[in-house]
Structures are given as C-alpha cells and as structure tokens.
Subunit: 138 residues, 6 copies
Amino acid sequence: MILLTRRATFSAAHYYFNPAWSQEQNERVFGRCANLNGHGHNYTLEVTVTGSVDPVSGFVVDLKWLKDVIEREVLDNYDHRHLNLEVPEFASTIPTTENIAIAVWNRLQAPVTAAGGASLSRVRVYETPDIFAEYRGE
Amino acid sequence: MILLTRRATFSAAHYYFNPAWSQEQNERVFGRCANLNGHGHNYTLEVTVTGSVDPVSGFVVDLKWLKDVIEREVLDNYDHRHLNLEVPEFASTIPTTENIAIAVWNRLQAPVTAAGGASLSRVRVYETPDIFAEYRGE
Amino acid sequence: MILLTRRATFSAAHYYFNPAWSQEQNERVFGRCANLNGHGHNYTLEVTVTGSVDPVSGFVVDLKWLKDVIEREVLDNYDHRHLNLEVPEFASTIPTTENIAIAVWNRLQAPVTAAGGASLSRVRVYETPDIFAEYRGE
Amino acid sequence: MILLTRRATFSAAHYYFNPAWSQEQNERVFGRCANLNGHGHNYTLEVTVTGSVDPVSGFVVDLKWLKDVIEREVLDNYDHRHLNLEVPEFASTIPTTENIAIAVWNRLQAPVTAAGGASLSRVRVYETPDIFAEYRGE
Amino acid sequence: MILLTRRATFSAAHYYFNPAWSQEQNERVFGRCANLNGHGHNYTLEVTVTGSVDPVSGFVVDLKWLKDVIEREVLDNYDHRHLNLEVPEFASTIPTTENIAIAVWNRLQAPVTAAGGASLSRVRVYETPDIFAEYRGE
Amino acid sequence: MILLTRRATFSAAHYYFNPAWSQEQNERVFGRCANLNGHGHNYTLEVTVTGSVDPVSGFVVDLKWLKDVIEREVLDNYDHRHLNLEVPEFASTIPTTENIAIAVWNRLQAPVTAAGGASLSRVRVYETPDIFAEYRGE
C-alpha cells in the first residue's frame, strides 16, 4: 500500500458569522473574521489516495486523472469564489478550515471510489502556512 | 549602505472591476477576478529600508520599530479587510498587486523618512508565491 | 474527527553535552554540537489537536486560544533562551530535537486536556527544515 | 516512541515507458513522461525512523549516522543518475514516485534494522513540491 | 515604474559535456554533471517585466498574457525535454543555469517588447533552491 | 553579465549587548536579544557573484569552487559557533544581521577577487525567513 498525494491551490473569500448570534457575540468568538465584507486566503489542498501500485504502469492512480478530479470537483467551485455566498455547503455551515477539509472530502470521495483501484485516504487544507486541518473520513 | 528587509503577511479580499465597463468587458479583461462577490489571498509583504549601520547598536533601523510601523500603517488597515470596500485608496483604484505595492509605499514612506537614519528603498508584494510586484518609489 | 494544527516558531541556543563523559567522548558522540559556547536554531513547532467540529462555531478548538496556550506554555519559556541554562526540563536532559518534542508535549497536554473538547494528538519539532521529530504521547 | 525524520535531496533523470506497449499507448498513458530522451527532477526524500529515546544521548538514532546511511545506500546510487538506465531496480520497473518510495525503503530497511535501536517507519518521496508518495513497508 | 514578476516551473534533463575535451577533462571540470546518461531538475523561472501601471486596468501587463507567453516560448520547448538533445540553443552550448537564463531572456525579449507597454527586465532561473542565475540583458 | 548565486546555511548562537551600557539600556534597545545566555538561529546566506559566462564551460564561476570558498571562509568559522564569543569580528561588534552581512562580504571579497573571472556582487543574510540584510560592498 502506497499513499500518493497531489497538492493544489485556490484563492477564495470567506467570513465567519453565525446569524443566530448578535454582532457582539460573533465578534467575540470570531474576532476580525466576523467582518461581513469578507477577507480571503490562498488555500493549499493536499489530497491523498491509497492503494497498491499497478505493476504495469507503476501508478497507484494516474496523477493527471487525480488532478482533473480535484479541478472539476473542488477548484472549479471554490477558486476565485466567495465560499459563504457561492458554495452550497457553506450556505449555513461556517467555512472554517476544519469544515473546508470535510467538504473537500465529501466532494472527492465518490469520484475517487468510483474510479476503483484506490481509496481516498486524507484531505489536508492549509488556510495559511501556519494553520491546517486534516480529515480522514471518520 | 545596507538594505534591511522585514517580511509581513496579511489576508484580504478583493475583486477587479471597472464600473465604467460592461460586465462582459470586465470579465474579458479580468477573468474570474471580476466576480463581485470577491475572492482573497494571503499577501506577503517585503519592506526594505536602506541606510548605514549605527556603529553602537549595529542596526540600520530597529526591526521592532519597523514591524510596528508596518502593522500600524498597513496591516491594521488591510488585514482581514475587503480592499475595495474598506481601504480608501482602493475605492476607485483597482487593488492589483501593482497598485497594492504603490499604496504600501505611499503609506510607509513618510513615517520611515520621519524617523531619520534610513530611507524606504523597496516594497515587494506577493499575491501568491508565483506573482509579485515591486515598487521603488519612482 | 478532525486534526487541527497550528505552527509556531522560536529561536533558542543549546548544546549537547553529557557531564558524565570526557570532553573527547562528548565530541565523538555529539560532534560540533558539544561546543559549550552553544549554538542555536530557528525551531518550528507544529501542535496538532484532534476532536469533533462544533456545529455552531465550525471549530475543533479556537485557534486564537491554541496560539495563546502555545505562547504561554512554550514560547515564553523557550524563545530567545538558552535551553540548557534556562529551561528546567533540560537542566539534566540533553535538548535534542527528540527531547524537545517530548517536553513540548508535556507542557501542552494538561492545558489542552483541561479545556475540554479536543485532545493533544501530535507535537512535531523542526530543528532545521531537514530534521524533525514527532511525538504522540506514547 | 519518537518518530525522527531526516530530509535529503537528489537530482536524477527518468522516463516512463513500458516496452510491451506501442509508442502510442505509452504516450496515451504516460503523456510527456514517455519521451525517451528523458527529463528530470530535484527529488526530496524524507526518511523516518522510530524508536525510544536513549536517556544518555537523547537520540533515537545518531542523525549523522542516518545521513551517512542515506547517502551511501540511496544518494550515491541515484543522484546525478538516469534512474532507468543506471539504477538496477528500475531496469524493468518504471521509476514512478510510488516505485521510488518502495525502492528507497528496500535499500534502507536492512541497514537501519541492523543498527538496532530504531526501525524504519516511513519513506516519503517528493517528485515536485506538489506530488509525493509515502511507503510504510506494508 | 513597477517591476512585475511571474514564476513558472519546468522539469528537464541535461548534462554538461564539452565534446572538444577528453572524458577525463569533462569529469574534472563538470564532475557528476558530465554523466552522458543525463540527470535532471525541477527548474523554477522568475520572469520580471517593468513598466508603468495602466490607470484603467491597474496592470503593468496582463499576467494571464505573460503566463501564456512564458508557456508558449519557454515551457512548451523545455518542460519534460532533454535540454541538450531537444532544445536548439543547447545543441552546442552547455545548458548551465547561466546559459539557461540567457536563453530564456532571448526567447522572451521579442514577444514582450512587441506587446508594447512593458519591457523585459530580468530573468532568474533556479536549478535547485540553492543555486540560481539572473540575467538582465546586458 | 550574469549574476550567479549560491545559498548556504549555518546555525549559530549570539546575543546583542553593548558593555558600555547598563543592563537596563541593553534591554530597552535590544529586548530579549540582550539575554547574555545567548539564543540562536538557522542563518541562510546567499552569495552572489557577477561576471561574463565562459563560452567553453558555460560557467561564470565553478559553483563547486564557490561552495568550497563559502565553507572555508564562512561556515567553518560560523557554523555551530557562538558568534560573540568565538568569531573575531564580533568580539566588539554586535552580530546583528546587518553586521553579519558586512562580515561575510569582508571574508569573501578577497578570495573571490583573487580567483579572477568574477567579482563579488551581493551578500544576503536571512536571520529568519522574515528578516534579511543585504550588502553590496559600498
């Protein structure tokens, strides 16, 4: 079994705001992230699949295929978007780094599984080089 | 003469949109950056001052002072903000990487000059690790 | 369950020296690190906690809180210090990267556990970009 | 138990080509990597060993020894070489990132085990900063 | 005047060999780089143009256009190629980092100049993160 | 003319202390750096030489030779040393990043000039990834 990882990046805007709370409570919990004008990040995504190496090709999966899946399922929907306003899974879920990792997992698991040969093992999302969340599907 | 550089980072949202143009023309020139919901970046800033080394302290300038100037003049106004909506110099100027470099220069030149001992030499702004603009005041 | 990581840095001096050994044996085992004048590094620390995501805040833990804990428990005691001479746990334990990882774990486990909601999962310490140690508490 | 990692780099040429296939099939599966003139990379290798910390030295293993083992077993054979043409394990196995990770594991496991005190835990190979494979020996 | 830089990467094979010299002399001057099987690198390229900022668009040049020029003129010819065997300017010139920087300048200067509005200012080529050459056209 | 740069690293301890001042004044000016137990950094050094490209070798200078000069003149004297206590030029000059850049220039200029063919152009010293000084000899 080999773990194979492909990194990708996207740039997006977001804010942290719970409409059930007052403005004061949002600012106390979320600090400057509660600014409804939004701010943004260059996110880095690491998608890891696991499987055995095909003895003929030397591949766990074709990295070109994996890149296309990540672009179609994630980057086309997240890159240069406002996560709260334009991405359905964040309409009522706050797009924290943790929730983005879960959402990317949910977008990728079915197409990776459907391809056969490998399974999705890990999704890591860096909001900045100093903050990252990792989800393994359980 | 020594060049001394301090790096800093901020996260902000922006969009590229010229209200004198049609939506179509904005999208043709600015592509996905024309999305008025905004997107964002982790910007990295490199501020370089130049001067002679004080023989007593070994400093061109006190880096703690330079850090404070950058925070007060730039980060407090840009970090976790929407550049187009909240930063005066981008109310009618598009916040491209080039214009951000000029704006940071304009914010820093007076306080650096006023302190004496060193002059502002260079401002470099990275929008992503792959794109950066540099302004030297002329 | 999500793994959430916060990175931090500190700069410190240290040396490797076992007083029960002769100078020659110290130099044979520890090489240039046995120099009692000390040398130093910019250490990078990655602290990982694990827990479930709070559905209201979207957080595993508040990263601002985690940053404060790391600063109070680790950075305030290690940064700009001589590890052998000023940090109690290295008075008679050699501050190798391995031992620093264990010591950071020991400093953080109680306050992270006391806060509830998440547990300390992993501490990784980079002595240089090319050398790092990781401890998981067992 | 501590995980201790040492990073190393090497520069090598390779191509992806299965002689049992036609030129067309090689190009369809391997794209530009099928070019028999070869291309190359700066590979980054992370070798992780695991063990308990020696209470006297503070070491899991001596990192100088680990560096020497990696140089003798891997770098002396891979660096500035053409992997397909000069490295025996790639004479009939395609040197994908996955297969390089397995080959490095196979080269290192015996000498690390023979030294006692620690076992080989993980080999990670970066072909570029955006693509890496990891093998744990099973 | 603003300096605007775009980074790009390519992976290629090369060797250093002067056919007018004996094998021994090649190995004495070029060391392991004289291996005619070739080796390779992930090259990083920084292309800097200079000009004034268009007050309407906020651009020195359109970075999408600059990216396309770099891809068409450089990457399509260098990426996943053997520089000595497949790139005309290196048929009889050794593809050192210095000569690659000059060659990239020569490929880019005419199309950048022809576009008007900005001039090519600097080409920097990294062979590894630790070695880079820079050419400014004179 | 080409600028050719080689990067190197060293780890050292230092403190900032002016013996002509009181302890209070040292702490006011130098903050935590005034701690006489010392602290330390992983310094990164970039040494740039400039010259024309030898048409036979494709070299401005032989990078192996440049590496050896840097090791002999700088790293052998600075790495794993206490700069204040063990390096003559810092016996009475505070080893700030600025002064280290000047000292490295002074150590390298004669041997680089003596070799002929290229001149020393620039020395850049990073104390951390966020702070660097650059000296050009004038």
